[in-house]
Amino acid sequence: SVACCSSSRPCLAEPHNSFHLPQERKRTHILVDSREITSGSEVISSLRAIHGLEVEVCPLNGCDYIVSNRMVVERRSKSEMLNINKNKFIDQIQHLQSMFERICMIVEKDRAKPGDTSRMFRRTKSYDSLLTALISAGIRILFSSCPEETAELLKELSLLEQRKNVGIQVPTVVNANSHKWDALQFYLSIPNISYITALNMCHQFPSVKKMVNSSPQELSMCAQVTHQKAEEIHSYIHYSFDLQMLPKP
C-alpha cells in the first residue's frame, strides 16, 4: 500500500537495536493504562489473544494506549463524545499534546444494553464541531464498532508506527526494586514527558548522570524524541532553581 502521510519527523538516528532480520523481529509492544483494565478489558484480551501483541499495563496517568515512541491513542465511546464536558476534554487533549507528537482518537460505538431496543444516536452540531476542530488540529480519528475492532485498529497503528521506525523497542517491564525503577520515577517527574520517553531514557542511558550531562542531540537519539522536545528537556535539566520563585503555600 501507499506510504502514509509524509513524515515531518526530523531524521532521528534509529535505535541501536532496530536492525533485526525480519524473522527475528521483536513482537509489537503496546502500553496500556491501568484504568483500561476495567473499561477496556475486551480490548486488552483481544490484543493479547487474537493479535499476539505484547501488552504491558502501566500507570500512564491519563493516556489510554501508547503504541509507539511518539503516538498516544485515546479510546472514547460515541456517547461520551456526544455528551462531552468540553473544557475537561480540551485540557486532556492539551495534556497529551504536551507529551506526544501524534495523537489518535478511537471513537467506539456503545454496546447495546439488554432491553435498550432502539436508542438512536442523534448527531449533534457540537459533536460535528468537536470532530472538525480535532481534525484541523491534526488529531487523527478512527471509528470502531466494538472493543475487538478497537484492538484491531490499535494493532494496525502500532504496526504502522513500527514500519516508520518509531516502534517501541525497549523492554517495557521494570523491576520495582531496581535502580532502573528509581531512575524511571525520576525521569517521569520531568514535565511533559511521556511514559515511553521515560522508559527509553531508562534503557538507553547507562546512568542517570550520563543522561543529565548529555547534549540535546544525544537526548533526541536515546529518548527517541524530536529535537524540540530534546531542547525542552535539556533546558529543564540546566534550569537554575530560585527559591524566591516558589509559590507561597
Binding site: 525520576f186 520563585m245 516558589l246
Partner: protein, 222 residues
C-alpha cells in the same frame, strides 16, 4: 481565476464562505440541505473531487453504493492523495447496508493513505458536517482550542518534585540541595564531599549512587 487541470486536481478558486460543488450534485438532497446555509457554486469537470472547501482542501464523497460495489472508489482517493497541494477529506455513507465494508475503507483511507475519513448516515448528516468543516476552516487557527498553546509553567515546583524522586530525598532535603546545586545538572555532578556539606553522609551516598550507578547493575539491596 485559475482553471482546473484536465485531471481535476489542479488549483481551483474558492471564494471565502463558498463551496465549489461538482455539477453532478446539482439538485441532490445534499446540495439542497446546504443551500440557504452556505453559498454553493457548481462547476463541471471537477472529478475526482466532489466539493472544494478551499483551494487547498476538498471532499471526496463515497456513497453507500460505491462502498458496496467494491474497491473502485479507491482510485479517486489515491489520485487526490498524490496531488501535492490538496488535502482530501473523505466522507463515507455508513449505513446498515454498507457497514460491513466500512472497516476496510477506513483502514485504506486513514492508515494506508493518511487521509481524514468521516462516516455519515445520510446526505442530510453530510450537509451539516460539510458546513461545519467550512466554518472550521474559515476560523482563525487560534480559535481552535486544540491548537492553542498551553501556558509555560514555572519550573521551580517541578524541580522540587524531580529531586524528591531521588532515593533518600524528601520535602526537607530537596530545597536544601537545590539551593546549593541550583540545577539537576549541578546536582548530578556533585561530589560525595560536596553533598555531605548539605545532607548527612548516608543521604549523600545514596544520592551519589543514584546518579552514577549503572542501570544494568543488579537489583538494589533493600
Amino acid at each position: 481565476m485559475e482553471r482546473s487541470l484536465p485531471d481535476g486536481t489542479g488549483p481551483i478558486y474558492v471564494p471565502l464562505g463558498h463551496i465549489v460543488a461538482c455539477e453532478r450534485w446539482r439538485g441532490s438532497q445534499l446540495a439542497q440541505e446546504m443551500q440557504g446555509k452556505i453559498k454553493l457554486a457548481f462547476e463541471e469537470g471537477l472529478t475526482p473531487v466532489d466539493f472544494y472547501l478551499s483551494n487547498r482542501s476538498c471532499i471526496l464523497y463515497v456513497t453507500e453504493a460505491d462502498l458496496v460495489a467494491g474497491k473502485g472508489y479507491r482510485k479517486r482517493l489515491v489520485q487526490i492523495r498524490n496531488s501535492s497541494h490538496l488535502q482530501g477529506i473523505v466522507l463515507v455513507e455508513k449505513t446498515q447496508m454498507s457497514e460491513q465494508y466500512f472497516p476496510a475503507a477506513q483502514k485504506f483511507t486513514v492508515l494506508d493513505l493518511g487521509m481524514v475519513l468521516l462516516p455519515v448516515c445520510s446526505q442530510k448528516e453530510a450537509a451539516s458536517l460539510i458546513i461545519q468543516l467550512v466554518h472550521e476552516q474559515a476560523k482563525e487557527p487560534s480559535k481552535n482550542p486544540f491548537l492553542r498553546k498551553k501556558r509555560a509553567q514555572l519550573s521551580e515546583p517541578s524541580l522540587l518534585q524531580t529531586v524528591q524522586q531521588i532515593p533518600g530525598v524528601g520535602k526537607v532535603k530537596a530545597p536544601l540541595l537545590l539551593q546549593k546545586f541550583p540545577s539537576i545538572q549541578h546536582l548530578s555532578n556533585a561530589s560525595m564531599q560536596e553533598l555531605e556539606h548539605v545532607v548527612g553522609q548516608a543521604a549523600a551516598q545514596r544520592i551519589h549512587t543514584f546518579f552514577t550507578q549503572s542501570s544494568d547493575s543488579a537489583p538494589r539491596a533493600l
